[in-house]
Amino acid sequence: MDCNKFDYNSSLYIDGMLSDNERKEFEKHIEECSDCAMALKNLQTIVGCLNDIDEIELPSDFNTTLRQKLTSIEVPKEAPIKKTFSRATRHWKGLAAGLVILVLSVAAYNGMNFPEQTKTAQEDLAYESAPASPQESFDFNTASKDNVRTLEPTVTGLDLKNAPSYTIGIANEETVEEARLFGEADAVDSSMKLIHQGRLRIETSDFDDVYGEVIRTVDQYGGYLQHSEIYYRKIFRDKPEDSIRVASLSIRIPGNDFMEVFENLRGLGVVLNHNITTTNITDQYRDIENEALNLEIQEERLRDILEKADKVEDLLRIENELSRVRYQINNLRGTLNQYDKLVTMATIDLELEEVKDSTVRLQPVQDGIWGKAKANFVNSVNTIIVIAEKGFIKTFALLPILILMAVIATSAIAIYRLIKKGR
């Protein structure tokens, strides 16, 4: 055995991980080589010290803070649901990507009038995705009413649910009309909690007017701008009036008026993209609400017990439990409030793009593969020429510096030679 391998084996030797043969060989080597024996002793000292290190105790508040963190997170059983959901969206993404590729390839195949084509294709898609929009707008009216109802701190929610719909609708004659039209079947739907989200891309030539109109519409319906950004997509410094602007707005409007406002906005220009998403959170909402109610009942009961308890130990335990319950209730109520906000105020993301009349896209004549090949050929030749020109110009630009450097270098060499000769 050589001393190189010794380092590796000495560690295993300490832990008793060597085979019998290896161990005998190792022990023999130690007797022969005093250096290695010393090294082993050092290593043993270190390992001994490490083994001697005592465990430290957990901090005293470790379990309480852990408990808090654990109770504030979601139940783990929700994880698999999320998984299937993301798998589903993955499928949709794939489908959507496939459609886009299909549309693009068809458009490209048909030649140069490609912007026109995608525009209509996108609109078609948008319409397909929102077939039930009138129905949704109705549901929404009633849903938000229900929302007002649930905000009232009553436990008699069940009675209200069974009450005839016209008693609720007094505040708004229109909804009464609608409720009658849709009849009894919608008494069930009236408690739906729906979150509306819309996305819209519009092209217009009078940007300022349309932007003003958007702001006016938002004001009129009692909404607000959550986010607004205007930037230049193209800037022509010599001809500022030709610059192209884009506005990106995030608008919040009352849920009832969602469809109306959306239609209004659609009318403001050429629609490039249109998308409505409605999420039904009724089930989650009810679950959470029930859970909160149960906990509140539990809280009541705990308070009763607290009154009766006389032992300090019991008191402490009950109070602990009480604070835990209160914490959960607050959590659930917070989520409900968040949902209420999302339901009462719908979100519309609006992108407004400016187009210039003069720059309205020209439709080139269909000129087939040859034409395109020719155009590309000319393009490449042009690029080569441009590169050559630029190279030439750059060399000229560098010339003064080169000359200056040459002068400095020659004079430096001359001086150096002079000094050398002088010596």
């Binding site: 010393m38 290593l43 270190i46 957990l58």
Partner: protein
Amino acid sequence: MSQEEISLVEKTRQGDVDSFEKLIEPYQKKAYNIAYRMLGNVEDASDVTQEALIKIYKSISSFQGNSKFSTWVYSIVNNTCIDFIRKNRKGNVIYLEREKDNGDGTYQMEITDNTNTPEEILDKKETRHMIQDAINQLNQEHREIIVLRDIEGFTYQEIADILKCSEGTVKSRISRARGNLKQLLIEKMRYEGRGRNGLQQI
């Protein structure tokens, strides 16, 4: 895994926090100690241990039962520590990378190895005094293995399970880590000795 643990895991999956606490109770202290030795201070250790335990709670449904529950827990604790170290690594931390692998399981020190000078340098009392410092100076790969093997006393097989590598790798890593630690301690003692006694020892 005992019958009791299996039923606790099952209850935890259904969201029972009490069962989870009972389940991890026996492992908490060791987990905390691993984190403490890995990170070198109590606050971070407490935070990271809790983070790891929450991760365990959330991902309990992914625990297959084909490894021991304890090694699964400790491997998550260890990984969380390493994530934490990576996230908080400051620019000025330089780890000692002084050995290179010869490819056949043995290794060589790139710097001349002073351990073979025939004098007993390491004194037990002094070593104990400096050891945590020295551990903190090891790179994380070596630190974790020293913590698991020599401080927490896991067997080679358990370490292989926790780190998800082969036992052979564990063997060579332990040897290297200890070699490195020895080197560090010797240098420290020389330095301190010099500080105390001027340049006498050289």
